[in-house]
Symmetry: C2
Subunit: 847 residues, 2 copies
């Protein structure tokens, strides 16, 4: 041992990530694999911490280890690459004497370059002097004078003194408040330490007559796609990562029409690098980027880092490693974060693009889209007819906007949070959506939006909405459209083999069902039927029904809706090809189907041939103070039986007409008491009996309940006696458990989370303590009453990995989520199952 | 024994209510007391049931018991007087021979009268013939011929046959479907049986030369007031209750200027009756009405019934019986149904009055009032200034109507249920209120209301609202105003000595506090502060606060509200004289303080000197989709800290200025998580510290939480760590547990209850299964975390006896209810405690 806490990096030295950081550990692995790593010392975290507390180390001994003539580099080695760390410093040990010697050996130009680089980094990073005084135009003498002038002492000529100052400066920087906060924000623990790596410099500069010299980096897959390909640059007479500087006079690594390449000019070096890359891949079980230096024709590997990668590349790399037998399939699954699958599916703003961000809101549905602004659902539909791409801007959206949302490329709302109507529907449709756009004011009548900076945009102006980050850009911004490739299906197939909880999708339309089927959802867990009534022709009939004076007129209106509803179901059954489909009976209050603006009311009066006063009176009579807690769901089903009877008939007639035959699941919404289920169940059974008699065809169906009220969860035992499945609607359940409307919470939720009142937005992340207890209680009680009851959740939480973990733990049969989140859910479920079973995770590297 | 199942009523016979009914048992008691009861047989329920199943009894033996010459009556004797039963039949045994004999003994007129009455009742009630054929104008021969004609056989001449037919007809009638449903609706069990009493007739008619003859009824207290006074009538030459027929030629019992009296004409008989009355009172421990007959100068007591009484009389009678030592005080308490105390307090429509009911709604707050119609709170206030009595009619009320409600004599709303805003406030104010008036249409702009029959009423038209029954009358209807007398205070004092759960009142104003203090509430359990801001001057400042651009402006506006708020509290503390007062910090969303009509907005813009657009934008920005679940309660308190800080200061400054000193209780509304309490608590503690420093006065206060969200109940343990009391707001808790808005539920709740979906309106009767479980869970968890936490409920349920029972069982410290319900709650709590301790209830009568 050189000095306490300093350890030579050898195959057998006791390097651990916990004490020496990932870089030191990685270097040790390279050494073990026989890569030509220059002589390296690791200084452990405890020792570095000690420096900041005034316990310096014996740098004389360190310098002695490398020899008087050596130059060394110091690089950070923390617990994880993303925690950051001080910038590396090269060429420590440069003194006037050494400079003179190198001028002789390598030529004055090379020696000057080494010395100026060291002077510059030392002055700026260690002595914290003004960078302008140490610009590239300065000579060595000028720099030394500037140093002397500013510091009141000459530039240190003792390598040990230089090293001590470097170590001390890095130690202090790491323990400063700013760095601490920054790395904690990136997930580092409070006591995360810094280790340092001191490595003998191999100089990539020098007299070319003594052989090739230079430096570069290489990796063997694309960071963008993960496809195998050699990428990197090499530059003669360079150090560090200089070859990557744009416009540098660098070589390509493999033959390239754009310029000279190492493959042509120095194929031996390239062959060695390929060999080392393959060694890293198979033995470190990872795609690595190697930093190398060629000195006088000889290759040295200074460092290797895990290749930086997009989600798409991560997926491809994991699949390839497992396919090649380098890692087990289960580990490949674990290596892909579930949410990474979303990135693979949605268009994104090109990371290279520089657009002007005009407003930022809450990212509510990922992906990006460009289009012209419209301010009404109607305008969106007209634009769609003209095949224009439009962005629908609304203060907030309602059911009446859904068709307009369908017609839009993206949605932007002034209000709302991640579970507002706009957000939920947009996620269902896979549309980019930004909600709660802070500081904009929308004037729908004037069709203008005022931006926070005071500017205004009007209908037809072009913007780009980035639902992944919440940014809204002026004009069109370049987008990139990732294509899920074969590895997407492969990794999900591996995930499916391992997961032990089902994944269904929430789909309201055949288009959504097609997406769900494409993502191999195991069925539909929630098919909301209300959106089916917003088509113009249907809406008119729906309104006739609402204005009907007696049950007979109501039934007549509903009879017109029966065939269209039946064909909706038939189409969905066809797409799902025999997989289970859970259809929720009509849920929203009737007033959602009525117009609220004067023109709409006039049109309605004309179409129903009723006096305007009558129309207004009816709309007024149906209006509610708290629609969320009003006459909707099963309450409507009980008081206006004809609606559910029509829907049940449509479901059953579609079921007997479907091929392959499906066993439809009929779900009753907003239940709060056993008797509601009992009553509706009896009526639906009667409809089933009628359909059987009329058709002469036997069929099965299942009847279940959507548990959305706290009371339904509390009374799940008696409700389960009448329900063969219970699906927990965690959106509404969260609203009622907290007494918090998701439509109104957006306005203050961010402040609430920022002040730490709520640890997280409970609409985004399942509230395990409160809502979770109701879920567990409901599940346990239901199972106790009926052993074979099917349990699931179908709220927005269904696609959230933490919520899936909760449901799996609570013994739920499946989760149901937006179709675009089905891959995420499948992946998250697989992670849970693999971890629970303790299947191979990161195995220790083979020596 | 005469025949199986038939028992002579003697002091020692085995008569039980369960087998022989209350009438038979009462007659036995009269016999035991030595009252001159004619010879009586009781036929038990089992035997009567047998008759309907075809097992006739030996009526020859029964007739033989009374002797060939006797006439008998048959009267029903069921388990409780209110269960009804067949009409009594008198003079059974009348035959041609007996008629001839009686003509000789009593004179033909008297004998004819007896015979025709028997013929008539037998034909109509037993043979079920057309009553028109047996009218009073018919002769005996005509009636016999009509009977023969209709039945195809002569009128029975055998007393035993007559009796058998009577018994059989009564048995069948009792077991018919109609009678069964009717008595079950009155609380009878499904298998309630009928016993019958056969009694020898003592004829009140006959030759006056053989001595005085006649019949009558007497009681010794007023049925209206319970005040001791002899009431009743006596008629010579009459039978049964003929003396009570209006315009009958009857005698008053005691000297009366309106006509002749028994006291003057036959004082001996009256003395005997007084003696028997006193005997009944002391030995049957009840005020009885005695039915008597005088035959040839001799008194016979045929029957005695518990005196029919109003709630007021019931109270007085119970107090008098206990004061006289006839019954224990605890029993007097039990004899007064808690809700009867409400009747004593509210004006009622004179039961004799015949008004025209123009519409019927849900009775939401008891009492009755007459006034002229107004359609706005402002009009109500103007009318009050003119000292006019007005009825405020609204579609539904909001906080902005409260001052107008204060100014009104009664409230009528088109919408809402028993826990709508109108209902809750009206009960708090003790105002009669009818809500959910079915079928009316209100046109507030035209100031007209259209009635279900198509008629219209306009502003200024007079109506009478009866909040006890839900009836609305056209014009003024005579009202009666009961005065609570000394017995009211006496019985409540006895109740208080026995009850073991506290009773506080929900009071928002000094006026309400005065009512609560008058009813001896033990404190204020809920003082809502929002109503304090609707006074015009305060409202303006409140609106300035809402429109303030920054915290400093907001604080400045709030500073203006501080002194008025402080004086509100001072006045309430003064009235409550040291009793605890729980003040709830501001709860409603801010938009409730803003105008919603155009004129109001214009006025506001003018008074704040702001452009109309700015006012409209702010109102729009604050509007909410589901205000019930929006930015209100503690959420507002956290995001706009100045409001709670001002309120806390006002409370503390009032507390140190009050004499006697009070320990105020500060309550945080709408809590759903621990952290909310922690944050607000810290801020309020800081205010308390400031006030202590500024004033140099030490004071105590308690900080607690209103548990209104299911989540607060679930997390009561961690919340209790920061709260010294938890008060369950069962209104909101019910809304959230069911997902049911009380403002919107009125529209369908009656249908829901009628169809048996909910056994009862959960806003009216605490839902023990669902909401109750949350209460119990919350209480247990809170107690486990903090042994000395004070637990209470302060919702509308606080005044409901069943809910009080629930709270007492769950170990709550007190209930808090509308001030006018405080007496009911005190009484109900006493009932529970007495029953739980098994204190003397209905002791067996002394022999």
């Amino acid at each position: 041992m050189i000095t306490p806490g300093v350890l030579p990096v050898t195959p057998t030295s006791n390097i651990r990530i916990s004490s020496h950081g990932v870089r030191a550990k990685c270097l040790q692995r390279l050494v073990r694999l026989g890569l030509p790593v220059p002589d390296t010392l690791a200084i452990d975290m405890h020792t570095i911490l000690g420096i900041s507390e005034g316990q310096p180390i014996d740098t004389d001994a360190v310098i002695a280890h490398f020899g008087e003539d050596a130059l060394v580099s110091v690089r950070p080695s923390s617990g994880a690459p993303e925690w950051g760390g001080p910038t590396s410093i090269l060429n420590i040990g440069m003194t006037s004497a050494r400079h003179a010697k190198l001028s002789h050996e390598l030529g004055p130009k090379a020696a000057d370059a080494l010395y100026t680089r060291f002077l510059q980094s030392y002055a700026v990073q260690v002595a914290r002097l003004d960078p302008d005084l140490f610009g590239p135009d300065r000579t060595i003498d000028e720099m030394r004078a500037a140093y002397d002038d500013a510091m009141g002492e000459p530039f240190p000529e003792d390598p040990a003194v230089q090293l001590a100052a470097v170590l001390s400066s890095m130690s202090l920087a790491w323990n400063g408040v700013t760095a601490r906060l920054l790395r904690q924000a990136r997930g580092a623990p409070e006591d995360a330490g810094l280790a340092l790596v001191v490595q003998r410099m191999v100089l990539g500069v020098g007299n070319p007559h003594r052989g090739e010299s230079g430096s570069g980096v290489i990796q063997f897959v694309s960071s963008e796609t993960g496809v195998p390909q050699i990428t990197g640059r090499y530059m003669r007479q360079s150090q560090g990562r200089e070859a990557l500087i744009p416009d540098a006079d660098a070589l390509y690594l493999i033959s390239d029409p754009r310029g000279p390449s190492m493959e042509e000019e120095n194929p031996d070096i390239l062959d060695q690098l390929k060999h080392y890359g393959q060694l890293c891949r198979t033995r470190l079980r990872e795609e690595m980027q190697i930093e190398f230096t060629v000195s006088h024709g000889e290759l040295h590997t200074l460092d290797a880092l895990r290749v930086v990668r997009t989600s798409r590349a991560a997926l491809r790399i994991a699949v390839d490693l497992a396919t090649d037998g380098v890692i087990p399939e289960a580990e490949a699954v674990l290596r892909v974060p579930p949410k990474a699958l979303l990135d693979v599916l949605h268009r994104q703003v090109d990371p290279q693009a520089r657009g002007e961000v005009v407003v930022t809101g809450i990212p509510a549905s990922p992906g990006a889209a460009t289009g012209r602004i419209v301010f009404s659902a109607r305008a969106a539909q007209s634009a769609k007819a003209r095949e224009e791409s439009v962005i629908l801007i609304r203060r907030e959206t309602t059911s009446g906007d859904v068709l307009g949302m369908h017609a839009s490329a993206a949605i932007l709302t002034e209000r709302g949070g991640v579970t507002s109507h706009a957000a939920v529907i947009a996620r269902g449709l896979g549309l980019p959506c930004v909600v709660g756009a802070a500081g904009v004011t929308i004037d729908s009548r004037a069709r203008r939006i005022r931006l926070p900076d005071g500017r205004e945009l009007g209908e037809g102006d072009e913007i780009t909405v980035d639902g992944s980050t919440g940014r809204v850009f002026a004009g069109a911004v370049p987008l990139v459209q990732p294509e899920p490739d074969a590895s997407f299906r492969t990794i999900l197939a591996w995930a499916d083999e391992r997961r032990d909880i089902g994944v269904r999708a929430n789909c309201d339309t055949p288009a959504e069902a097609a997406v769900a089927a494409g993502f191999e959802a195991e069925g539909i867990g929630l098919c909301r039927t209300e959106h089916m009534f917003f088509d113009k022709a249907r809406l008119t009939v729906m309104r006739e029904m609402i204005f009907a004076d007696d049950p007979a007129d109501r039934a007549a209106a509903l009879k017109q809706l029966l065939p269209v509803q039946r064909s909706d179901f038939l189409e969905i059954f066809r797409i799902m090809a025999g997989k289970p489909v859970t259809i929720r009976l009509l849920d929203p209050p009737l007033h959602e189907f009525l117009p609220h603006d004067r023109q709409g009311k006039l049109d309605l009066a004309a179409s129903l041939d009723l006096p305007m006063a009558r129309v207004e009176a009816r709309i007024e009579a149906l209006s509610e103070v708290n629609p969320m807690l009003g006459l909707r769901g099963v309450r409507l089903g009980i008081l206006v039986p004809e609606i559910y009877e029509m829907q049940a008939r449509a479901i059953f007639e579609a079921a007997i007409g479907s091929a392959p035959r499906v066993t439809p699941e009929v779900m009753i919404p907003l239940v709060s008491s056993r008797r509601e289920v009992e009553i509706v169940k009896a009526r639906i059974e009667a409809v089933a009996a009628q359909v059987r008699t009329e058709s002469g065809i036997e069929f099965d169906y299942r009847l279940g309940v959507m548990v959305e009220t706290p009371r339904a969860a509390l009374r799940a035992d008696e409700i389960a006696e009448y329900a063969s499945f219970l699906s927990f609607g965690t959106n509404d359940l969260t609203q009622m458990t907290y007494g918090l409307s998701r439509d109104d919470a957006g306005r203050f939720m961010s402040a609430y989370v920022a002040e730490g009142v709520f640890p997280e937005d409970p609409f985004l992340q399942l509230d395990v303590d409160g809502v979770g207890e109701l879920l567990t209680m409901g599940a346990n009680r239901a199972r106790a009453a009926r052993r074979d009851v099917t349990l699931s959740i179908c709220g927005e939480h269904g696609g959230d990995p933490d919520s899936i973990a909760f449901c799996r733990h609570a013994g739920f049969d499946y989760v149901s989520c937006s179709p675009f989140r089905v891959p995420v859910a499948r992946m998250a479920a697989a992670h849970l199952a693999i971890r629970a079973r303790g299947e191979t995770t990161t195995a220790p590297p083979r020596r």
